[in-house]
């Protein structure tokens, strides 16, 4: 599984459709190739939604298993990837519901220094942060995302982190594209306001 994996988007859709057909016919090796193609994306989506690293693998594994057993019902109306990511999103939400995860605002809050640091990293490093700052930046952003609703978080992650288009997000989340646009607009505003509020509160404290 550690072999380099091409991005699902760089592969031809026909080749992927062929893999799906072979998987539907029960060819395990073909399904294995689909798993290898999409595992990074699935892990990434699940990880952003659940946060707890130790749960991510269980949920991702469950999502792939569910996809395998539902594959016969896949009708090629959407791309295999968006269908699979929708399963991953639903599995993540099911897991959150089962575990009754509650937002721990105070634990998730950033302190003054952390907030300044986050803005500093985002301002200074418009490209990729240096490896030494990656983990820190990632942790700070994840804490900031804990301050908005799971649905806002999902939309922003799919758009800004995973780079999906509005149409793709609409398919993954089973929403109308116009609804996605409106909710995305509001989610962005809520995130920006959460950031501002935190800054004001910390500054005033």
């Amino acid at each position: 599984m550690s072999e380099p994996v091409a991005s699902p988007r760089s592969e031809s859709p026909d080749a992927e459709a062929e893999l799906v057909r072979r998987s539907q016919a029960g060819e395990w090796e073909a399904f294995g190739q689909l798993v290898r193609r999409h595992q990074s994306r699935v892990f990434s989506i699940v990880r952003r939604l659940l946060r707890r690293r130790e749960d991510v693998e269980d949920v991702a594994q469950q999502a792939f298993a569910k996809a395998y057993f539902s594959l016969r019902r896949f009708d090629f109306r959407s791309a295999f990837g968006t269908w699979l990511y929708r399963i991953a999103v639903n599995e993540s939400y099911d897991w959150l519901r089962k575990k009754r995860v509650r937002r721990l605002v105070y634990e998730a809050d950033l302190n003054d220094d952390q907030l300044r640091r986050l803005e500093q990293i985002a301002e200074e490093e418009r490209g990729e942060p240096a490896p030494s700052r990656r983990a820190e930046a990632s942790d700070l952003v994840a804490r900031l995302l804990d301050r908005i609703s799971p649905q806002d978080r999902l939309l922003l992650i799919l758009k800004e982190v995973e780079g999906f288009s509005v149409e793709e997000i609409a398919e993954i989340t089973d929403m109308n594209p116009n609804t996605v646009k409106v909710r995305m607009f509001r989610a962005r505003e809520r995130l920006a306001k959460a950031l501002e509020r935190m800054g004001r509160r910390k500054g005033g404290a």
């Binding site: 599984m1 395990w28 942060p129 920006a192």
Partner: protein, 158 residues
């Protein structure tokens, strides 16, 4: 262009999907509206911050593929083992339900009906004797006033 229209086209503009003329209108509005300029600034800041997450790409732990395959095989094995029994259990449940329904219908249509005393006759006899059976519920022995009324209504309906 008004702020509301700017908001409506905001996502298309960010995705660079807005057409040439629309882009010009959006750019023009942004240049003249401080609130929408601040909105763009906030959105870009939020995007920059969120994109910091993109570089931290989690990968499956070694052995993930093997574990996934084992899970799928186990589930397939369970389905193979219990699947036919489940199908039989489902058929059996259906069969039993249908049998119970048929039995209930049969019993309802063929079972002898309990003999009903001709209440209206008793009432008429009592009335002929000058008793006011409806006004005085206790005037007929073992005869309930409501039963008499129901019986009369049923008789009329025939």
């Amino acid at each position: 262009m008004k702020c509301r229209e700017f908001h409506q086209h905001f996502e298309d503009w960010l995705e660079e999907k807005a057409g040439g003329e629309l882009v010009a209108l959006l750019e023009n509005h942004r240049a003249t509206c401080p609130a929408c300029r601040a909105l763009v600034h906030r959105a870009r800041k939020a995007s920059r911050i969120l994109r910091l997450l993109a570089v931290d790409s989690p990968e499956p732990a070694p052995g993930f593929y093997t574990r996934l395959r084992a899970q799928i095989r186990e589930q397939e094995e369970q389905e193979r083992r219990w699947g036919p029994m489940e199908a039989w259990a489902r058929r059996l449940a259906w069969g039993l339900s249908v049998a119970i329904l048929i039995l209930a219908i049969y019993l309802n249509t063929t079972a002898p009906k309990p003999a009903i005393p001709p209440l209206q006759t008793q009432w008429m006899e009592a009335a002929a004797e000058g008793q006011d059976v409806l006004a005085e519920p206790g005037s007929l022995e073992n005869l309930d006033r409501n039963q008499v009324m129901i019986s009369l209504v049923v008789e009329r309906g025939r």
